[in-house]
Subunit: 468 residues, 2 copies
């Protein structure tokens, strides 16, 4: 591996390669992640363009060295860990907006572009990328995990916003999946093939993204309910009505307590009801929003909602929504010395959301685990965050049991073990249970065709074949 | 091939196999299609379920016999033709709605279900499949061509509405791509891999579809413009504004003449302006529609639109929209004895739509070709339909030149040679030009991995490798 790193250094320049222990640690382990491995990459390299990524792949392929793509490092399932060591390719120097076509409503970017920065850069055009994952996320990682976030109810997930990809294959060849039409049915959907593949099929070096018009107006309403079931029933009525909210989010009683006690100054301006709470983001024209709000109030009155709290100003709207967006950070800020976080997500068919949240909360409280629930109820996807002491075997086993049971339950309900965090190393066994060995074998057949030496992010999504 | 057909007959029953000449002709040639081949299948078989399709694939694989999937037979690029003969698998007996889950907003169907019938069956639930291709189309063909239609502006195309697929692989193995969550990032996106693959990667035998709530209200407006450019500029302003029309369609002056002269009785109740015309379908709540219409009128006033014609009743709305939906049929009904139709489509980045339509119309008129333009301007995709006498070499060459030039022009503008009809045998060369040999080679690598003997719909999307 060091030979490969040295060869890359001679091609790209010494500044482009690091063997520094701290750098390697930062690229090999994450406190945010539920899944880590004791192994570390042998070196970290920073390419500046597609050609350099191609050179790196040629060298690694020649020497049979694993290649692991790295972006913001904020994924949570060990997606960028290095269980088979190898060379980590850090895309943070590839952070350019390559071309912006406002009249075509698209933008071409490198993978190291942060999505919040992108939206700031282009906001005067009235366009934006409507995904809303963690503010830390970079486009490359968003593509590779098929991320979503709070806006997915209206706007779908990452695969719906990618027009084309430039991809470096395992052996260094470069392919472009499409030209730049907004719609096409020409040939295989390679774009969709690489999105969500976690860097195991190719290294994404350029992305053309669809953009959406920024809605004329938005309005945020916060409503609490007597139970999770009442809140999800209300959510379900709203979804079935066809009213197009931009977002529809649930936080449970425990998470609302956390917000009251530990939220940011802006968020703590008011005292929140410590009950299951829906955060609704209306968007559209000012008139349409007024009409939507009236309809929603009528639709859900049987679920005994508390009063609707609306933001009176745009600033207040940001403060209200911040309670939702900061939730995980707020939760983490309450972490006691010596405990660690286990954060995970599943998604189920819409009608089963209340069931699975209720059962999972019950189990948590029976086993004495402190955890919160945040749900993207618009697409029946929810997250739990739990703290435990990793040196307390009993506590660790209890958390693991809650997670395992949640996964099995999601599958019994015909759902998925990962709504938006992908598989990484953390959920490989669950994926086999979700799809069955036949489907996994077919995925591996495609993986082998694309990467015969199994060098791209090996050990992610599924285990290496015995022969490799 | 006959041995394989007889073996299938012994497994599935004699009624499931036909060697009848008329049947074979109907499955091997289409007057609707732009691309045909002189070859024919050796037999046609009608499976009733996934297990029977799996049996057929095992037999064909054993005897190295090509397998061609057939649905409604309404595709236009020779997608179901049999250039290498083989056995055609007709899915029309697999026409069951397997399970309807209104609370999950999804439905499980077999590939032979017609989408209009499906929407009629489930309409009392307030849900519908919002795609809108030819009324003849079956779900299986819609999946395999990644179809769209007039509603794509708001609802996207077929790939956006498929939750999971059950697929019989070339060797008869059965895989299911997903369970039934509305959102997932677990493992490779096999669903997206099979959608649009034209039956070259597997035989789709069951489909779970997302459904959307039927909008509370709709309203149709028809507006004519002094030029194509004025109409597309107006369209572009509407799109950029974020106003969510369900559909935004363009018909050119020639197509409007055809409507006036040859439209159905309902359509001919009024005399249409014979100018470039936008058909707008507003949808949402009644209040929101009122507000949207006002905004649209304000937005496009600089493009000198004629008066807005609105439907006053739901019946009138259907009549107005029928002028658009019937357009191709109306055009075909004007066909002179001895002439045939060449129908094709391309899509380009939004800003180039007016350019490409203008140039293509100019070329048509210079070469004396009678043709019309219908555009899904909401996603910069448009269709031309041209008549020519196939025995008139000069005319045939002229039409071919218009089509070729249109393809090249679409590619120069960074567009695609097929917006919604897929590639079939008609556009294979164009696809190489669109994506480049490197990308085609990568597609072929995946094809070979999925179907090593190259038996599934061979000769579609791209040519067979020399070795096969």
């Amino acid at each position: 591996m060091l030979i490969a790193a040295e060869e890359i250094s001679s091609l790209l320049g010494e500044d482009s390669v690091s063997y520094d222990e701290d750098v390697i640690e930062h690229h090999g382990h994450s406190d945010w992640s539920t899944a880590n491995t004791p192994n570390r990459p042998a070196a970290v390299v920073w390419p500046r363009n597609t050609e350099e990524v191609s050179m790196i792949a040629r060298v690694c392929s020649k020497h049979n060295v694993p290649m692991v793509a790295f972006g913001a490092g904020s994924s949570v399932e060990g997606n960028f860990s290095s269980p088979h060591s190898g060379i980590t390719i850090d895309f943070t120097h590839m952070d350019k907006i390559v071309a912006f076509h406002p009249d075509d409503m698209d933008v071409v970017v490198q993978p190291g572009v942060n999505w919040v920065n992108l939206n700031n850069e282009i906001k005067d055009s009235g366009l934006f990328l409507p995904l809303d994952p963690s503010p830390t996320a970079m486009i490359g990682g968003m593509v590779s995990t098929n991320c979503s976030g709070t806006n997915a109810m209206r706007y779908g997930n990452m695969k719906d916003w990618v027009i084309n990809l430039t991809v470096v294959l395992a052996d260094g060849r470069v392919v472009k999946t499409r030209r730049r039409p907004r719609k096409t049915s020409a040939g295989y959907n390679l774009t969709g093939f690489f999105v969500g593949a976690e860097g195991t099929l190719g290294l994404v070096t350029e992305i053309t993204l669809k953009l959406a018009p920024i809605p004329q107006d938005t309005s945020v309403a916060i409503v609490s309910f007597p139970s999770i079931r009442a809140a999800t029933t209300a959510a379900s009525r709203i979804i079935r009505s066809g009213i197009q909210l931009a977002a529809l989010e649930l936080m449970d009683d425990v998470q609302m307590q956390v917000v009251n006690r530990h939220g940011s100054a802006a968020v703590k301006k008011r005292k929140w009801e410590e009950e299951p709470t829906l955060f609704m983001k209306f968007s559209g024209t000012t008139d349409a929003i007024k009409s939507d709000i009236k309809r929603v109030q009528e639709l859900i009155k049987n679920e005994k909602p508390g009063p609707f709290h609306f933001a009176k100003t745009k600033l207040e709207e940001l403060d209200l929504w911040a309670a939702r967006k900061e939730a995980l950070f707020t939760m983490v800020s309450t972490r006691k010395e010596g405990t660690v976080l286990w954060s995970t997500d599943v998604a189920v068919p819409l009608s089963r959301l209340a069931d699975i949240i209720d059962i999972s909360k019950d189990e948590c409280s029976k086993l004495g685990i402190y955890g919160t629930i945040i749900g993207h109820v618009g697409d029946a996807n929810f997250h739990t965050a739990m703290f435990y002491d990793p040196h307390n075997a009993e506590q660790k086993a209890a958390v693991k049991r809650v997670v395992d049971d949640m996964m099995h339950r999601a599958l019994e309900m015909d759902g998925t073990v990962s709504g938006e965090h992908a598989i990484g190393i953390g959920k490989k066994d669950c994926l086999v249970e979700e799809l069955g060995q036949g489907t996994i074998d077919f995925m591996k057949t495609l993986k082998r065709a694309a990467d015969p030496k199994w060098l791209l992010n090996p050990g992610k999504v599924f285990d290496l074949p015995d022969a490799a």
